[in-house]
Every structure is written in C-alpha cells, then in structure tokens.
C-alpha cells in the first residue's frame, strides 16, 4: 500500500525561516508570556493554526553537532530526591516487588491526591498516586487479574470495587463473551500467546507535547470542532467517533484538574522550559494513571523540549545545570512509574517493565538531523541517575547523524548497556514520517497521527509441528487445523512439510486475526484510552501489530529438513516426540543464504497471510519478530523441533539466531538478521547483541569507535533494530544460567575467539575467571 506523505519537505534553513516568518499568529497573542521574559518568540508556521507539533519542531529546533563536553552532573536536589527513590525501590524489592498498594481507589486521572517525593526539592512534580511507588488498581482490563495481584501481595481488593464489576463489564469479560471456540483452543494450547485479553493493550502513544505547545483549552477547542463536524446522518462509524471524542474532551478537562492539584495551569501553553517539561510529564502522567498498558511509551520529546530549553538558556533565564535538572527529574519520575501486575505476567514480560520508550535523534525529511543538546541530556541521565532499563531510551540511528552524538551513544552503551538502536533511515523511508516514536520495544508509530493495536504473537515453531503431525497439537494430540494430511514419507520431505506448513499458517493467521478484532473491539468499548487519544488526531491511522515467535527455530528446522536427513520419532499416537537428524545443515545466524532465505521467506509469507483478512476499524496489518522475554515460556509450550531443539527448550529471543549456532561471530550473525525484510515485518525486527567490553576492543576509545562502526554497518545492511549489551562479569554468570538470552556472547583475546555459551560449565567458569583478569 502506498504511503502518503503530506509533509512540507522544502529544505529549510531554520534561521532564514525565522527571519521570514518572524511574526506571531493572532491565535497566540494572548497565550505566550514570553514578552515579559525577554525571550525570542517562536518561529510561526502551520502549527499556529492547526495542531502540528512537527511543524513547530522543524521550524524552531536547534540541531547540535558538538560533543558531550557541555553536560552537567546532577544537582543536589536531584541527588537528594533520587536517594529517596533508591531507598523506596529497595523497600519495594524487599517486599516481594511491591512497596504498597491502594486496593480501594480505581485509578483515574483525578483519583488520587497530589503525591511528592520531597516537595521542596522537586522541579518537576507529579506521581501516579499520593505516595511514591504506591501502586493503583486499574480493573477495567479485568478485575480478577487485579484481585489476584492484590492477593499475591497479601492485600484484599476492596469489596466496593468487586461490587462495581457486578454491574458493569470489563475488557476481559467483553472479550471472552465474544471469543470463538477455536480462538479459545488456539490460545489455551499455546499457538496464540500473551494476547492482551485480560490486561491493557498499551502501545498507544499520546502526543504529550501537545499539552505543552497548545495548552488544554486549545486542545479542547479543536476536539470540539471535530465533534461538531461529525454530524448527521449518524452511522456506526460516526457514533463511535462521537463517543470517543466526547470521552477525550472529558479527559482533557480532567487533566486541567490534575494540574490544579499540583498548582499548575495546564489550560494554557507552557511558557518556559520548566513548564514545557512539566506539561509534557503531566500529560503522560494522566495516561499512566488511567492505563496500565503493557507498554506506555513517552514518544519523541527531547528535541521538542530542547526548543524551550535553548530559548531560556539563550535569554539567560536558566543555566545548563538547571536544564539538566529538569530532564533528570523528568526521567526520575518516569523511572518511578509502576503498574500492578500479577505474578503470571512475569512469564511474558519479566522484570516489571513499563516501556516508557523515548525515541531520540534521527534525521528529518529535509536531510538535516534532529539531534539537539537535550538528546544528549536525556542520555546523560544514565550517568546522573545511573544505568536503568526505564525509560527505554531508543536512539533513532542513521550513519548521517553527527559524529559527536554517535560517539556519545556508543559510550553510553559501553558504560551502561541501557540503550537500544533503531534504523531511522529505514523507518523514514518505509513508513513515511520523520516525527515518530517507538511503541513498546521496536514499533514505529507516527506521533499524534497514528496508533497501534497490540497483538502479542503467535508461536510459529509450534505451527510448524502441525505440519508434521497432521494438524494435531504435538503435546496433546488435539486436532487444531483440519485438512492437513498425514505425511506420506517417514523421512521428512521439504516440499511435503512446506505444503502442510502453509496450510497451518493460513489457519493460524485466520484465527489470530479474529482474536485481534475481538480484543480491540472490546478494549475500545471497555477500556478506551481517552487520555492518550485526547492527544492524538481524531480518527487516526491504525496499525494492528501482529507478531511471531520462534523464527530461528522454524528457519533451522526447515534447513535441517532440506539439507540433512530428518526422521521423526513418533509415539503410539503418531505424534512426533523427537527427531533423528543425520548430516549437516546450515543454521540461521552465519550469513548463509541457504538458510537465511528460509527465514526471510517464512516471515514474508506469514505477513502476507495475516494481511488476507479484514480488520477491526480497517487497521493496517503489520507484524513483528519480537518476543520480549516470552521466548522462554513459548519454548516450554513447544515440543521437540526438527532442528534438534529438545522439547521445552527456550526459543532464541526475537529475530535472534538460536544460541550457540551462530559460529561465525557477531557480524555474521547480525548480517543474517539484517536480511529479514522490514517491509514484511513493519512492526519491528528485534535483535539483541551481547558482548563483553573486551570483545569490543582494548580501550574505551576503540570500543566506542568499534561499536559506532557496528551500528553504521548493521543499519547500512538494512537491519531494523539492535539491543546492545556490553556485559559485566555478573552478566556472564547470568549467561551461564540462561544461555538462550546471550546467543552471541563472544570471548575474544588476540588470535582466539570462542562462543561463551558453547563452552562447558567448567570452561565458562574458567573464562570468567580469566577474561576479567586485567580488570581486577
């Protein structure tokens, strides 16, 4: 489907633009208070007359080409606050992962009184509840899940809350009242997994910048106009939209009220840097007070905020230290975001994640880059507040980014392992916008213009086994897909298995689409994201985000069937419980086309299958190759596979090659993954690379240079995403326990290389004791 680009792509010299357009719109005459502060007025543009944050950013940003030397450490206030946070987190961990729960108040934008860490020291205020790390209940997803989560921590859910849901339905109730028997079957057998049918779907990114740029009054005005335009005759499309817009307007009004609780006038636009940061955070806070979506991204805020910060610094109103303080305190607040989860949630998303994903950097359509000093300031928080998985800082990488920024990113990776990278050139080209954020882990989402329906994933490795077992589940023998003939040959024949596999994929895709349509219909109905969607265009573009797990298993299995001799060992019911493999076969992860083409082909084929069926709200189908941490639990549910993987063994994560099979080193492994076509997996292709510092080079500068070259090289090959882990000794111990998470861990000293996870336990211990020798 062609992608329409409506942007102003004229090359802009921003200073010229400033000179030519140096006139303020009438609209803003009474709103901006910059006259009293003697700050430069913003360059006007389309953004004055309509909601267009991108236009504001493009006209007003100051790209920064320098290095990191201007950055400042945390202020005393920041340190004091963060010490309190660290103590609270310690208590949280000591108390089974939850510091406290409010089991009585259903969390809404205005449900809780203002909360502070230590008010006099806070430059940026606002907590989800009235107390640091106190978790709120959000039972609209499913009250039983909330009740269970409370019980697991020895807390009783308030009977009042339970009573409410005797009179109203939750998302979970809605979904299960509509689920078909085949969806239930596919779900319970583990073909469709992690579906957001009893928790919030998340992934919808509000354009939180809008509250700062326009103020709530103006946003309400625009939404009211949209509502007016939705006039007679009424059809179900208009009726649905009218209800949605009305809910959004209420949410905006409640945001004003939320601001009042903290003494902030959110009705008007932010007048200075501190307010801009505060307004953006308040908008985000409204979202995470209402919703506990699996991923609640922040968007792409750094360059937007930089405009206000630059202006205030230029006018002498704030110092660099104060600028950093605002960002540090914003990030601190983002790190303290919590949702109440039940223990079983850990299986699919381990480590209590919130995915406050923030996209940083990238290029624009005019050939300029979007790196500003505040891009650096966001990364600097990893030093000022220490390494952290949240917020999930994601660098939108292009080889054309300024060297100073690239080097700083690489340094931050080496020092903290806390950031990930995505191919900005690729996403701009294929998806069309240069103003986008990352939903959850890897998924493109144009900010304020587009949303996404999260679809978890289906187990493709298990689907392959249907092809070998006449459509029956390999574990239970239950018939899952009718019409798959029993194999004629004892030895697996590639063409025959492939034929059956295609039948299985077609059926899985059909049922998967059905489940998504039901889930998102019900989520809109019972757990609508009014706060986020109030900050998104009315009737936005929608992607439905399907996903697959087990790609490397499928690729290697098909390769084994094609290039070696694979004979199933069947039980008395005729189900393949194991496989005898004779001969060698190429494995995915070695830059070997014979198998990489299988991975690429299956990805594209299944993506096409998903696109065959109509979707709720005409959402455009996209697919990810992403597992988060669920690769372990999917593995548990999957029998032995023809690649030699034993029953229950974890899959490789995302699009990673299976651990220990990529024998040609990290770059060959990256190159295999880079072959997967983003066009056929537009929700993202996740890859994780783990290295020990020494593998990257002998000294800090070499490591930074080499890591920069890896990123340039990988993304030039057309790859989409890279998680970079530069590991400590502690991590090596973890790698011994969970080798599947560290597929490419390479130990290198001169003239010698070895894949860590391929060594015996004793050898690993040996390597651990040796490879850190010079570090002690």
């Amino acid at each position: 489907m062609p992608i329409m680009i409506h942007y102003d792509t004229r090359p802009t010299d921003r200073r010229d633009a400033r000179r030519i357009c140096n006139q303020k719109s009438k609209l803003f005459d009474n709103m901006i208070t910059d006259i009293e502060n003697d700050v430069e007025p913003f360059v006007a543009g389309v953004w004055n007359d309509t909601i267009d944050v991108r236009d504001f950013v493009m006209k007003n940003m100051t790209p920064y080409d320098g290095d990191a030397s201007f950055l400042q450490p945390a202020t005393e206030d920041t340190e004091l606050l963060f010490d309190i946070c660290k103590q609270a987190v310690k208590e949280e961990l000591a108390n089974n992962g939850v510091r406290s729960i409010d089991p009585s108040t259903i969390s809404r934008i205005n449900s809780h009184a203002a909360g502070y860490i230590s008010e006099p020291h806070e430059k940026i205020v606002g907590l989800q509840t009235d107390e640091l790390l106190k978790r709120a209940i959000k039972p609209y997803g499913g009250p039983r899940v909330v009740e269970k989560a409370c019980n697991e921590h020895g807390i009783e859910l308030d009977p009042k809350v339970k009573e409410i849901f005797q009179y109203t339905k939750s998302h979970n109730d809605g979904v299960f009242s509509a689920y078909t028997s085949e969806i239930r079957k596919y779900r319970s057998l583990g073909f469709l997994t992690g579906l957001p049918d009893n928790y919030a779907r998340g992934r919808i990114i509000g354009d939180y910048r809008r509250l700062a740029l326009y103020g709530a009054d103006k946003l309400i005005e625009f939404k009211k106009a949209d509502l007016e335009n939705m006039d007679s005759p009424m059809d179900d499309y208009k009726i649905r939209l009218r209800e949605e817009i009305s809910d959004q307007i209420i949410a905006l009004k409640e945001m004003i009220n939320l601001g009042e609780r903290y003494g902030l006038d959110l009705k008007r636009p932010a007048a200075n840097a501190r307010e801009a940061v505060q307004w953006v955070y308040m908008a985000y806070l409204a979202a995470v007070k209402e919703q506990d979506g699996a991923a609640m991204s922040l968007g792409n805020t750094s360059t937007f905020l930089d405009i206000y910060i630059e202006r205030d610094i230029k006018a002498g109103i704030i110092t660099e230290s104060e600028a950093q303080e605002y960002i540090d305190q914003l990030v601190m607040k983002l790190r303290m975001v919590r949702h109440l989860r039940m223990a079983a949630y850990e299986e699919i998303f381990a480590g209590d994640p919130t995915w406050v994903t923030e996209a940083i950097g990238g290029m624009d359509h005019c050939g300029g880059h979007k790196v500003t000093k505040t891009s650096f300031r966001y990364l600097q928080t990893l030093y000022n507040l220490g390494p952290s998985p949240e917020p999930n800082l994601t660098v939108l990488w292009s080889p054309s980014l300024p060297e100073g920024f690239k080097k700083f990113c690489a340094k931050v990776s080496v020092d903290t392992s806390s950031i990930q990278y995505e191919n900005d050139d690729l996403m701009r080209k294929v998806r069309g916008s240069d103003d986008y954020g990352i939903a959850c882990c890897v998924s493109y989402q144009e900010i304020g213009k587009q949303i996404q329906f999260f679809g978890a994933r289906c187990n493709l490795a298990k689907t392959l086994l249907l092809a070998i077992n006449a459509g029956k589940c390999e574990n239970t023998g239950t018939e899952v897909v009718a019409g798959i003939p029993a194999l004629k040959n004892e030895v697996l024949d590639f063409e025959e298995v492939m034929g059956n596999f295609k039948i299985a994929m077609k059926e899985i895709a059909r049922v998967y689409v059905d489940s998504m349509n039901i889930i998102h219909f019900m989520h809109d109905k019972y757990y609508y994201e009014r706060a986020q969607l109030a900050l998104v265009d009315t009737d936005p573009k929608i992607n439905v985000a399907y996903g697959i797990a087990g790609l490397s298993i499928v690729a290697d299995s098909l390769s084994a069937i094609k290039h070696a001799k694979v004979t199933p060992i069947r039980n008395e019911d005729g189900l393949a419980v194991d496989f005898k493999i004779e001969g060698e076969f190429p494995c995915y992860g070695n830059d070997d086309d014979r198998v990489d083409e299988l991975a690429t082909g299956i990805t594209s084929h299944f993506n096409d299958q998903l696109a065959e069926y109509p979707t709720y709200k005409n959402a455009e189908p996209t697919m990810s190759v992403l597992t988060i941490t669920s690769n372990v639990s999917y593995g548990k549910k999957t029998g032995a596979t023809p690649d030699g993987r034993a029953k229950g063994v974890a899959f490789a994560p995302g699009a990673n090659p299976m651990h220990g099979r990529d024998t040609h080193g990290a770059i060959a492994s990256l190159n295999s993954v880079a072959k997967l076509k983003y066009e056929s997996a537009q929700d993202g292709i996740s890859n994780t690379m783990s290295l020990i510092p020494k593998t990257l080079g002998n000294d800090d500068q070499t490591r930074v240079n080499n890591l920069t070259a890896v990123m340039d090289g990988y993304f030039t090959r057309g790859a989409h995403h890279l998680n970079v882990n530069v590991l400590s000794r502690e991590t090596l111990y973890k790698a011994m326990e969970h080798p599947e998470e560290y597929p490419q861990l390479t130990i290198r000293v001169s003239g010698y290389a070895v894949n860590f996870v391929r060594l015996t336990r004793d050898q690993q211990l040996e390597v651990i004791s040796r490879s850190f020798f010079d570090k002690m």
């Binding site: 770059i667 190159n671 340039d712 090289g713 290198r748 000293v749 001169s750 290389a753 010079d774």
Partner: protein
C-alpha cells in the same frame, strides 16, 4: 593430482566475523588451517594439521567479506590468520586480489617462516602484516616453536626493504619469553625498522588448553602461570624504550 576445485578452496579452520584484536577496526578474521610451528602455548592447537578444516570456496569467503564491508568504516577489513596463512599463499592470491579490487583493507597474521614467490606475490595485496615473533633468541625460538627464528627475522627484513608496514606481536610467556635480556635484544633488533608501526604484547592465556585435550594432545605448559599485571607492565616498559606505540592486547 589437484582438481580445479582444489585450487579455489582454502582449508579454513573457522571464521570470526567480529575481530577487534587482529588489526585495526572491525575485522573479518579467517583462521586458516595448518601450521609448521608447534608453539608450546598455542591457543589454536586445532589448527596444526594441514589437512583438517573446512574446504571453503574462495567465492563464499569473498561474498561473506563483501557483506561485512559496511562495518569497516573505522579502518577495518579482513585478516588472514591461522594456523599459518602463508602455507596457502598460492590460493590466497586470487582471493586477496578480488578483495583489494573491492577496496578492502587486508591484514596478514603470520609467523614469517615462509617467504617463497607465492608469499611475495601475496604480500603485494596485503596492507598490513601482523608479524608474530616468538623469541629473539634462535635457540629459545626453536624451543618454543620447533623452528629457528632465522626465517622470521628475514621476513621482517623483507618487509622493511619492500616498505610493507607491519605490527610486531609478541606473546609474553612467564619464564619462556619474558627474560629481561631477550626483551632488550628484541628492542635493539627492531628499533630502527621504519615499517614497524606498533608492538603488541599478548599476555599468555590458557583459553586454548581444552583444544589440546580435544586433539588428544598433552598441553605443554601445564604449570605455567598467567602473567601478573606487574610482569606485563615491566615488559611494556622495556619495549617503550625502543618503540613509540606499544599496546597490551
């Protein structure tokens, strides 16, 4: 009798696509099979046998290298190591020629024992030689490797005479190659070499011991300890009296 196929395949022990220690930048390191040395401390004892290894067509190696080209932006390229790559010089020539045509930086990691007309021709395509000198004293060299150092020193002379840049690599083994006098002698021998760009001290490690066991061979230095940081600093100190750029790998 040699078939056409044989002339186009190399005996490859393994490939490391993310080499960061065998030359500048990120390197695709091709470890070639076969070596005429039998170094007591060898970390890659499984490369000794000239007939083992995977017969790999040069087209496949060329293709893999071109896939890596985008990673070579900070001076990286391809390194032929081993084993001893010069043993397969004749077959390496056409491959290196093609890699050179693609503008790739080529390193040769060698013990410098073989210098025939194939090696000389091959060196035309090599940008940088990583010359492993095991010991400056020929008797000691023979004790470590089974061969004297005469050829290796001649190889260095050839590089100097033909203006071929090289790095000198020195494995520092306690009691075997870290004698004060030997370090000084090596410094004196090479201090005036204009083509010598860098000296790399490679501390002794035992990471390859399991390979000896795997090959059914007995590891020759079971009781040799790893270098202490002081020993490494000491050797570095001495070499810095003679060379501008000394690094510890």
């Amino acid at each position: 009798m040699q078939t056409l196929q044989d002339t186009k395949t190399l005996n490859v022990h393994s490939i490391e696509s993310f080499g960061t220690y065998d030359g500048p930048g990120i390197r695709m390191v091709v470890f070639l099979q076969g070596c005429e040395f039998r170094c007591l401390y060898c970390g890659n004892a499984d490369t000794f046998d000239c007939d083992a290894g995977d017969k790999t067509h040069i087209d496949d190696l060329f293709k893999e290298a071109t896939h890596m080209k985008s990673y070579f932006s900070n001076g990286g390229g391809i390194t032929f190591s081993g084993g001893e790559p010069c043993l397969q010089a004749k077959k390496l020539i056409p491959l290196m020629k093609r890699l050179k045509e693609e503008g790739m930086h080529i390193c040769l990691d060698t013990n410098g024992h073989i210098l025939n007309h194939y090696v000389e021709e091959m060196l035309q395509y090599v940008d940088l030689v990583l010359l492993d000198v095991k010991h400056i004293d020929s008797d000691q060299h023979e004790k470590i490797t089974g061969r004297t150092n005469e050829n290796t020193l001649k190889f260095a002379e050839y590089l100097e005479a033909n203006q071929k840049q090289f790095w000198l690599r020195y494995v520092l083994v306690p009691d075997l190659s870290d004698q004060l006098e030997a370090l000084h002698r090596l410094g004196q021998h090479f201090q005036d070499y204009t083509q010598l760009q860098k000296v790399e001290i490679q501390p002794y490690h035992k990471l390859g011991v399991h390979k000896w066991e795997l090959m059914g061979m007995e590891y020759q230095l079971p009781n040799t300890p790893q270098n202490t940081p002081e020993q490494i600093a000491f050797a570095k100190d001495i070499y810095e009296q003679y060379f501008r750029d000394v690094v510890v790998n």
